[in-house]
Symmetry: C2
Subunit: 349 residues, 2 copies
């Protein structure tokens, strides 16, 4: 649920580019053919296509096999209809009905926006939901509406709390988005784990050792060996006890507050093939046009200029915006083989 800063992807001959709308339609067809309603298919297809467009390989079409596996296992309800509850003037709740978080967010977004604008701040508490996607896609649209947004989602036990010896927290990302006068919104999406699970697998395959502080072995002992982490070990939080405290906060906000499951709370052993954490998500939206923050977008632009002046060449989100600009012009980069698989999954022969 997090992408470390990399150079933009440079698709080689094994990649092709297709229009975003075409990719989205193809993915919707795949989802609908594998156990979702048309509405759920549309929400997931859009989310997945946008992540692919932005160069987030780990959260784009790469996720499709996981989605289909979890749907086939019966672990998640692909036909769930989210129930939106107008709880209080600043509080929207959604019972996602054991479905995905994205259709739940779609169902409640306009009410969240309305409440944030009326009250200055509002929250959206999604429970009984599965989030298998990039988190920045949940906050960036709110910044484009002029709001400042925060999102928290917990996942599945794979991170050892500070001082502990057993996995308990999820990778538990925090995403933030804020409008900006002179450019695209400032957006970040960071896992509170020191490294993503996928990157540990890549290091293991390549035979690389990891820096200290990334993981523990099956006995809870610190290790730099990615294979030991994968063989019954676990990840560590980023930044030591501070990242661990933030990960705990994500459990409290995304699960305890919403009524969703903690990352260690659910048992999917009866659903072989299940891949999606059954948890919750919290979004907070603030209207900076209230009060003294009425010139917020100018202030955030001034901060960006100051960061540049201090030598920070790349702002949070820049890599994704660069990929997006390319994709808008040339189409979304997809692996040739991946595209063939998607077409087969969609029943296109």
């Amino acid at each position: 649920m997090n992408t470390p800063p990399n150079a933009p992807n440079t698709p080689d001959s094994s990649h092709t580019r297709i229009p975003l709308a075409q990719l989205e339609a193809l993915l919707a067809q795949v989802f609908e053919r594998h156990g979702t309603s048309a509405q759920v298919a549309a929400a997931l297809a859009q989310n997945c296509a946008l992540a692919q467009r932005d160069g987030a390989d780990s959260h784009g079409v790469f996720r499709i096999p996981g989605y289909l596996s979890t749907l086939a296992s019966g672990w998640v309800n692909g036909h769930a209809v989210p129930q939106v509850e107008d709880v209080a003037p600043g509080y929207v709740a959604v019972d996602a009905g054991n479905g995905f978080a994205q259709p739940a967010l779609d169902a409640a977004r306009s009410l969240l926006l309305e409440k944030a604008r009326r009250n200055g701040i509002a929250l959206l508490a999604i429970r009984n939901s599965h989030h298998f996607a990039a988190l920045w896609l949940d906050v960036e649209p709110l910044a484009r509406e002029g709001l400042v947004a925060l999102a928290f989602v917990n996942s599945m036990a794979c991170v050892v709390p500070s001082g502990g010896h057993r996995a308990l927290f999820g990778t538990n990302p925090i995403a933030f988005a804020a409008p900006r006068a002179g450019g695209e919104p400032l957006v970040f999406d960071l896992a509170t784990s020191a490294i993503a699970h996928g990157d540990v697998q890549i290091a293991a395959r390549a035979g690389h050792t990891l820096p200290e502080g990334y993981g523990v072995d099956r006995h809870g002992q610190p290790t730099c060996d990615p294979a030991a982490i994968l063989d019954g070990g676990a990840l560590l939080p980023f930044g030591g006890y501070k990242g661990s405290a933030l990960s705990m906060m994500v459990e409290l906000l995304a699960a305890a507050l919403t009524g969703g499951n903690f990352s260690f709370d659910f048992d999917w052993s009866q659903h072989p093939g299940a891949k999606t954490p059954w948890t919750g998500e919290l979004l907070i939206a603030i209207d900076p046009a209230k009060g003294a923050g009425h010139n917020f977008a100018q202030r955030s632009e001034a901060l960006v200029q100051a960061m540049r002046g201090a030598g920070q060449a790349r702002q949070p989100g820049d890599r994704r915006y660069a990929e997006r600009a390319l994709a808008d012009q040339l189409g979304v980069a997809v692996g040739v083989q991946e595209l063939a698989s998607l077409r087969a999954l969609a029943g296109i022969v």
Copy 2:
């Protein structure tokens, strides 16, 4: 604005213990005698006494010389009367009038609570304020009222953004508090810098080197030499680019959103002796009794039990609670010499 986890203090013969109320009265007398109104003195004295009670040496009476120096410099208005603005159903703003943040928070706290309970979520945006204190004291009382609370405060340029070479962000702490059924609230207060400035000074005096990733020298080059950090160098964010992103978020929330100054925005060169950053603060309070989070305190207790089960012996806030229990029984530990200085500053001969 952050205390790394240490063993509880063990006051030696150079320390004495006095009742909290007595320390608070003494500190109020010191503040009032050095340029504050009775109301500001009461707010600062309480804050400082509570930090001392909780064993936060760096934010207790240790701060008094800094407070008095900044008051004497004319940089901050010790008689400021905060102006509370009821901006929207979920939005309270306070113009602190170039005074301290604590009296501003005192003036707006009841309105914030009322709004959070009515709306489910509310925010308090303090601007034109000076925060020289521990941040957990701003959120813990909200958790004792049953709310979940977040606070963000920016400070003064001393942290280099990720990839940069010059200080721009403050130590920019984030504090969080949540109620808990089986014990004291879960509370953390973490600087987004890798280390506190005071700890760099201590390392320099002791001739120790620092771990990698804590600071840069005057040329923006990474260094483990604390003296090089102090000699025109700067701190780094904790956790690399992730801590840097969080520090940026704190600038946006505590300054851009509230209408306060950024950490790099103010010029105190005309006020020799000025010590307090002239910025802003944002508090967010959520009522977990709304919606599906009605059993929040039981859920957070379950999380604590799970963290213990995973081997995390100490929960965020535990060290402070241990110090507090001692102080409640025996009195607040204060250095004998410090106490004598405070008495002299209070005009007690």
